[in-house]
Symmetry: C2
Subunit: 316 residues, 2 copies
Amino acid sequence: MVSIKDIASDLGITAATVSNALSGKGRVSQDMVQRIRARADELGYRPNLAGRALRSGRTGILGLVMPDLTNPLFPRIAQTISNEADARQLGILIADSRGSAAEQSAALRRLLNLGVDGLLVVPQKGTSPDPMPVPVAVINTQSDPQNAVSADHVGGGALIARHIAEIGHRHLLLLGGDPVSEVQSDRIKGMTSALPADIQVDVLWGADGLAAVPERISQGVTAILTTSDLIALQVHSSLLRAQIPVPDRVSLTGFDNMSISSIMHPRLTTVAQNVEDIAARAIAIITAMIAGTPPPHLGEVVPMRLVIRQSTAIPN
Amino acid sequence: MVSIKDIASDLGITAATVSNALSGKGRVSQDMVQRIRARADELGYRPNLAGRALRSGRTGILGLVMPDLTNPLFPRIAQTISNEADARQLGILIADSRGSAAEQSAALRRLLNLGVDGLLVVPQKGTSPDPMPVPVAVINTQSDPQNAVSADHVGGGALIARHIAEIGHRHLLLLGGDPVSEVQSDRIKGMTSALPADIQVDVLWGADGLAAVPERISQGVTAILTTSDLIALQVHSSLLRAQIPVPDRVSLTGFDNMSISSIMHPRLTTVAQNVEDIAARAIAIITAMIAGTPPPHLGEVVPMRLVIRQSTAIPN
DNA sequence: TTGATGAGATTAAACGATTAATCTTGAGAA
DNA sequence: TTCTCAAGATTAATCGTTTAATCTCATCAA
């Protein structure tokens, strides 16, 4: 590998001048800068990050911890954050906290050992990351006091509930995966708080809730609002089995606009996160924290967008 | 951050002794080793990777390039590889090559700049990674001469085709996404080569193939074999729209045993990769290459496993 | 002529870990 | 007593980059 010294001895100058020229920091003549740049390109010079990290105390690598990479939402976030990081010459080490708070702590520790400058954490439901020796930015939801930036889950819940109310449904079932999840709780909260008082609302959670679906429909529920496209897919599957047509007999909504939601039949009405915006803000915040400058707009939430498809209809 | 020097001055010895004690390399008395270990733990010492990398020329970080993180198969592979790497004290930088060969080259370059010791590449369909200054292990399929390890896609195709033939289907439609993909071609190849000569087989690709599904069914096709669960889901969706029941009128199979395949209704008959085994072998191969020792079993394929569910049935 | 000034370069130290070479000490042998 | 030997430690250099401090000139003003 070609180092700064190779370029220097090649041009009969010292390493310091090369460093100054390439970083644009010291005083180097225009002419010299040109020649150094040209020679560096010719030799295919790539700065050695280890050397730089050792001197500067920064590795230029961020850690990203996600609760479950097999949930299609998270790879999308990871992908977007990676792109955003690339643009700033940063690397992203992705870790999966696989369902448990203990795994989350272990993942954080591993990333620290690898020398990350800062951490982006989408926390396990119901947990907060332990204090860390490097800056941490949490991506969760507004009810988490640690939240650095996130989608407006409350607002998203309100959007979809209002849509369902507007098209005439009067008896709803809200179905969440786990009330321990702040995100899902906020979504449910957003739904309930946006609904007029004359609408009857049942809230159920988890597998029990899923199992209760046919019964509730027989009791008059005409719309099922879930906190995730994955849950909606499961509901849809159980409705198919029970021969209950969507949306003719019951309307169904998801959350997060995953790719399956537009492949399903009927295509699913859902709410989309502005993943790009969230990723950009998260990176902006963590880089500011690392640089020691005041991070912009801590705790801000990014509006969600209602995506109306064929799984919701006027009740009959 | 506490360094080796802190421990040394703390115990009134030199850094070299601490390094020797912790790595078990030089000659250090048992007693001294004990004391150094104890003090290191107390102070919460974590080796600085930049220092080590600078001296040793190794960063302990591998790059993993995948074609599309939003395809649920790849996060699963990434997750498994990360786990395997963790166990060996290695870090994994994940990059997404997002659908194009150009993106793939760019991703490889970025990972190189970040100083990875080696690369694991699941290549874009129809491409081979450019030659690299660090070892590269390709995870693709047996027809790729560069393949270091992969699932036995041909064998997997044979498994599922044989199953369909055995339960009595005599007119099949094989549906692939893109013939340029070596993986998908091998799967189709495996299917066709395993089928008896008296079975009628149509092979179609892409969106045109998908559109032709109802027509082919009217021409007597009783089973549709796809090269991906995602394609199967799309087929299923179009069959639903056309009111063609699965598996009563037509059997349907996928590939890769993604999580959606067991959520769908009917649950999808598919073929599973042994992702853990592939990940373990891939890491073993790349670490051997990096160490300069001969890599074990280059080009081996890992058997796939048939997963029979409710989307396939005896034709009527 | 002397001094001040500043552009343009160099020197040297530092970051943390590793390791070959060297030094110190005590024990045992002759 | 002197010599040998090895265990147990230290010394010093090295990896590549950055940067504060310093040096060398040429230019220009007084």
